[in-house]
Each structure stands twice: as structure tokens, then as C-alpha cells.
């Protein structure tokens, strides 16, 4: 009888309920996990002028298959300094951006959490609203502002900070990339911080004050330590995708702005070197495995 399935429903799926798990499970295995194996295999194959432009590693007998695998692409990545510099530069940009986001996002989240409770839902909505508008649009909006003959130059010239022939030279530089990243990712930083700060019991600060702790010290001793889960969550949610960011460095960055997402894109769409692009992706994934694992652990704890 189907007895066990009914009564242990809370713990494990019974035969009749397998579908609930199996359908999304197989979808993700097929379209999320499966492709990673393919990417790994293709990164080990050779380039060819064909469609698809690589020598497949799936054909032939097992022995043949093994012998065809090679680490040529990975060796190439270590030989050409472009790639190593791209990885390092991506990590550097992601790290600096995350710190900037924390510096800007934390005071905002704190201010939101300390706002009157009637105002808070509106403030949260104001933070979320830009997130609902297209990422591409928001990056695009900055082009008009930052470019040499753009609005920022106009503003500086109008208020007399710049002469009529001077121009703001930050478009297509790393600074523009930082501005674009901070702008695009700010909601992702503020919201986890806010939810950590908002949960905090206000009487804790009253107790600290009652015990003779001045406000600033109370912040460092009570508020900040308790908001650390939010800090970690927000930092990871920003840091990981920024590392692989493509749109922002492509639209706002210059020729010398090296980011691995852009390198991968060029390798794929420009040079049509799919095996090399795959190798680039595999290495990026390896770099991000640890932060992603930490992120998942934290999400599970929250859940």
C-alpha cells in the first residue's frame, strides 16, 4: 500500500509525489548542471574551422576519446598574460566595487532601518524599483551622462568647475566601470543589509545605552556585529556576478579595462574560439566555487 508515502510526506517524497521533485530536478540537471560537463569537455578539445567550431570529443571509442583530450587551451591561458591579467583585474574590480557598495549601501540600509516604520515599505520599494527596470537601460543611461560631451561635462561647465573647452574624461575608463557597477548593484547590497538591520531588536541599543555605552561605540559593539550576516550575503550577491560582468565593462569601460566576462565574450563572438572560451569559463567557475559555496550555505541557513 501507499501507506508510507502519505505519512512520511513531511520528510521524503512518496511514489505519487515524485513528480513534484523530479520535474524541476531533471530540468535543472539537463539545462544547468549538464551544460557544465559539456563546457568542461569542450574546453579540452581542439579548435576547428567548422560548425560547431571545435573537434568534438564525444566521437570514437573510449580510448580514442581519452587520447583526444588535452590541456592545450588551459596551457594557452597560462602562456598568454592577457588571460591572467583579465582574471586578476576582474577580481580586483569586483573586490573594490564590493567595498564601495558596502560603504554606500550600509549607511543607506541603516538609515532605512532607522526610519519610521510607516515610511519603511515605501523606502524598500524605492530601492527595489530600479531593479525592476532593465539593467541594460540603467547602464545605458550613464553613457549619456559620462561621455566627454555628456551631461556631466555640461554640468561642470555650467557651474564653472570646468572651462568651456575642458571635458570630463572618465567615460571608457575604470572609473566609469566602478560607477556603473555600484549603480547597478546597489539594490542587491542594500536589501540584504536592510533585512538584517531591520530585524534587529531596538531595545538592544537602549540596553547598551542604559549600561553606559555611547551611540557610536554601541554601533560598533552591537549593531555592526549583528548585521554581519547581511554584510556577507550582500557582499557575495554582488561580488560573484560582478566578477563575470560583461555589459558594464563593455559599455562603460575602455579598451584597457580588462574583465574576464568581456574577454570570454570576445573569445566566443569575436574569435569564434569556443574551446578557449570554455576553458576561460571553467577557470572562472573554479575561482568562484568557494564564494558560491559560502553563499549557498548562508542561503540555506536563512531558509
Amino acid at each position: 500500500m501507499a501507506s508510507v508515502s502519505e505519512t512520511h510526506a513531511a520528510n521524503k517524497p512518496g511514489p505519487a509525489r515524485w513528480l513534484v521533485v523530479l520535474v524541476p530536478y531533471f530540468w535543472l540537471l539537463l539545462f544547468f548542471a549538464g551544460p557544465f560537463l559539456i563546457i568542461l569537455k569542450i574546453s579540452l578539445s581542439d579548435t576547428a574551422i567548422a560548425m560547431p567550431p571545435y573537434v568534438p570529443v564525444f566521437q570514437g571509442a573510449i580510448g580514442d576519446f581519452i587520447s583526444r583530450l588535452d590541456f592545450e587551451n588551459y596551457l594557452f591561458l597560462t602562456e598568454d598574460p592577457l588571460y591572467i591579467r583579465s582574471y586578476l583585474s576582474s577580481l580586483r574590480i569586483a573586490l573594490i566595487s564590493t567595498l564601495l557598495l558596502l560603504l554606500i549601501g550600509y549607511p543607506m540600509a541603516l538609515a532605512m532601518a532607522r526610519a519610521p516604520s510607516s515610511l519603511r515599505p515605501t523606502l524598500v520599494m524605492l530601492v527595489i524599483l530600479p531593479f525592476w527596470t532593465s539593467f541594460l537601460i540603467r547602464v545605458y543611461a550613464w553613457i549619456g551622462i559620462l561621455k566627454p560631451d555628456g551631461l556631466l561635462t555640461l554640468l561642470f561647465q555650467t557651474i564653472g568647475l570646468m572651462g568651456p573647452n575642458e571635458q570630463v574624461q572618465i567615460f571608457r575608463t575604470d572609473i566609469a566601470v566602478f560607477i556603473g557597477i555600484v549603480y547597478s548593484y546597489l539594490p542587491f547590497m542594500v536589501l540584504p543589509l536592510y533585512s538584517a538591520l531591520e530585524k534587529m531588536d531596538n531595545t538592544l541599543l537602549e540596553a547598551a545605552s542604559d549600561l553606559g555605552c555611547p551611540p557610536l561605540k554601541a554601533f560598533w559593539k552591537i549593531t555592526f556585529p549583528l548585521s554581519l550576516p547581511g554584510v556577507v550575503a550582500g557582499s557575495l550577491i554582488c561580488f560573484i556576478p560582478i566578477t563575470g560582468e560583461f555589459v558594464i565593462p563593455d559599455l562603460l569601460g575602455g579598451a584597457d579595462t580588462l574583465m574576464i566576462g568581456k574577454t570570454l565574450w570576445t573569445e566566443f563572438f569575436g574569435n569564434r574560439d569556443w574551446p578557449l572560451a570554455s576553458a576561460v569559463a571553467v577557470i572562472l567557475l573554479i575561482l568562484l566555487v568557494v564564494p558560491i559555496a559560502i553563499f549557498q550555505n548562508q542561503q540555506k541557513k536563512v531558509a
Binding site: 520528510n11 513534484v20 559539456i38 537601460i137 553613457i143 560631451d149 549603480y183 563575470g244 570570454l264 570554455s278
Partner: protein, 272 residues
């Protein structure tokens, strides 16, 4: 109080930073001049040229269809995934499963896009409309799963037990009790999935094929050539649609809140 003035300043600057670029974009969509820095007077001309730009309109239509389809499939799959995560604490490969739900939330899009493309090529599927739908379904279902999961966590299981106890079989219980009650979260998940699909450039670029150019791909290719007021116009329309949606959603939650307060009053009157 000093801290409240500090807070007000921080929030003003923060929101100014978030909104000024968008506002500028909207304003300049009505600029008669083609130059960004020159205000040539108020005009709808870019909306007209946008309207007559067949390529842009086709892309918009494809994007809308991809969005509706992928959001809908993604919502079904995501809701099932959320149920699996919350309701079944033990099954083989649960760790892998929850990993696959959380990972796409932070996975760089270039990796997701490239890996899906390679899958489609490896199994010999022609890229086009449906491959984009599959790709979008895959990453949006994870967002839906997270949204629905957080609702299911606070769901009172005794409601389902009560239905079972009254003779309602499990599947029927799901459709009569569970689903109606988690519906707001499911709808929110759908809206999130739809927006994410509308928004996506990178994954769509990898997985699309001939005849399936989505709006972000179209916008991107034009933006690379420089700022054009026509793009401003279509961006303004997108922003307007989203704003309307968000306002409608917040009004409906506000109304639900008012109804709840009224119900409480009725309940109190009921006692006396």
C-alpha cells in the same frame, strides 16, 4: 536628532544617485535634438520613429512572447522546486538540487549562457526562439523557487492536514488549499521572472539564433553605436510599464492590508 538628519541626508543622496540617471533618460526621450547636451524642445518624434522601426518592434514582440512563455514555465517549475525544497527534507541528491536552485542566482551570466549554448549545439538543437525560452526558464525558475519557498516556509501546514483529515486527497488538497493561499507569492514570482526575461542580454545573446533577436540584443547593438534618442524612447516606455506594474501591485497590497484591518474590526464587533 543628529542621527536622523544624517539618515535623511544619506537617503536623499542615495535615492538621487539611483533615480537621476533614469529621470534624465526619460526627459531626453522627449528631446527634439539628437544631441544629448542640447535641449531642442519638447517632441514625440523619437516615439514616432521608434514605432515605425520594424526591427525594433519585431524584437519587442519576440521579447514579450519569450517573457510570457519562460515566466509561465519557470513559475510552474519554480513552484514545484520550492515545494520540493520545503516539503521534502530528505531525498537522494537533495544537496545537489538545492545547489542548482541557488547557484543560478549568482552565477555570472556569461557562464550560464555559454554552457547552455554548448548544450544546444552538442545535442543538435537549432538555436532560435525556443532555445531562448528554455534558457530563460532555467534561470528564472530559480528566482521563482526562492520567492515561493519563502512563502511556503510560513505556510501553516495544519491547513493541509485539516483538508486531508476532512477526506480531501493530497493532490486535490494542493489545488484547493495550498495553491490559492500561496498564489500571491506565485504571481510575484511570475512577475519577477517576466522582468528578468525582458531584461536579459547576455544569456539571450548566447542562446538565440536567426530570427529571434530580442529587444535587449537590439538595444545593445544600437547602443554600441552611440546614444540615440530612439533608444531613450523605448527605454522610457519600458520604465513606464514597469512603474505602472509596481504601482498596481503596491495598491493591491495596500487594499489587502485595508481589508485585513476592516476584518479585524468586524471580528471585534462580532464579540460584543
Amino acid at each position: 536628532m543628529k542621527s536622523s538628519r544624517f539618515d535623511a541626508t544619506v537617503l536623499t543622496l542615495g535615492f538621487a544617485f539611483l533615480y537621476i540617471p533614469i529621470i534624465i533618460l526619460v526627459i531626453y526621450s522627449f528631446n527634439a535634438s539628437r544631441l544629448v547636451t542640447v535641449w531642442g524642445g519638447f517632441s514625440f518624434q523619437w516615439y514616432r520613429t521608434m514605432w515605425s522601426n520594424q526591427g525594433l518592434m519585431d524584437a519587442a514582440w519576440i521579447t514579450a512572447r519569450v517573457g510570457v512563455l519562460s515566466a509561465t514555465i519557470g513559475t510552474v517549475l519554480g513552484t514545484l522546486a520550492a515545494l520540493s525544497l520545503v516539503r521534502f527534507s530528505r531525498f537522494p541528491g537533495r544537496m545537489l538540487f538545492s545547489g542548482m536552485i541557488y547557484a543560478p542566482l549568482v552565477m555570472p551570466e556569461v557562464i550560464t549562457g555559454l554552457s547552455l549554448l554548448l548544450l544546444f549545439v552538442a545535442v543538435g538543437i537549432d538555436r532560435g526562439f525556443w532555445t531562448v525560452v528554455i534558457a530563460h526558464t532555467t534561470f528564472t525558475m530559480c528566482y521563482v523557487a526562492i520567492v515561493v519557498q519563502s512563502r511556503l516556509m510560513t505556510f501553516d501546514r495544519s491547513l493541509e492536514e485539516a483538508a486531508l483529515d476532512l477526506g480531501c486527497p493530497p493532490v486535490k488538497t494542493f489545488f484547493r488549499i495550498t495553491l490559492p493561499l500561496i498564489m500571491p507569492a506565485v504571481i510575484a514570482g511570475w512577475m519577477l521572472a517576466f522582468t528578468l526575461s525582458l531584461d536579459d542580454l547576455v544569456i539571450a545573446s548566447f542562446t538565440t539564433g536567426p530570427g529571434a533577436t530580442t529587444l535587449p540584443i537590439k538595444i545593445y547593438s544600437q547602443v554600441r553605436l552611440g546614444v540615440t534618442p530612439e533608444i531613450n524612447a523605448i527605454c522610457t516606455i519600458l520604465i513606464g510599464l514597469v512603474t505602472l506594474g509596481v504601482i498596481a501591485a503596491s495598491i493591491s497590497t495596500k487594499r489587502a492590508e485595508l481589508r485585513r484591518i476592516r476584518d479585524e474590526h468586524v471580528a471585534l464587533r462580532g464579540v460584543t
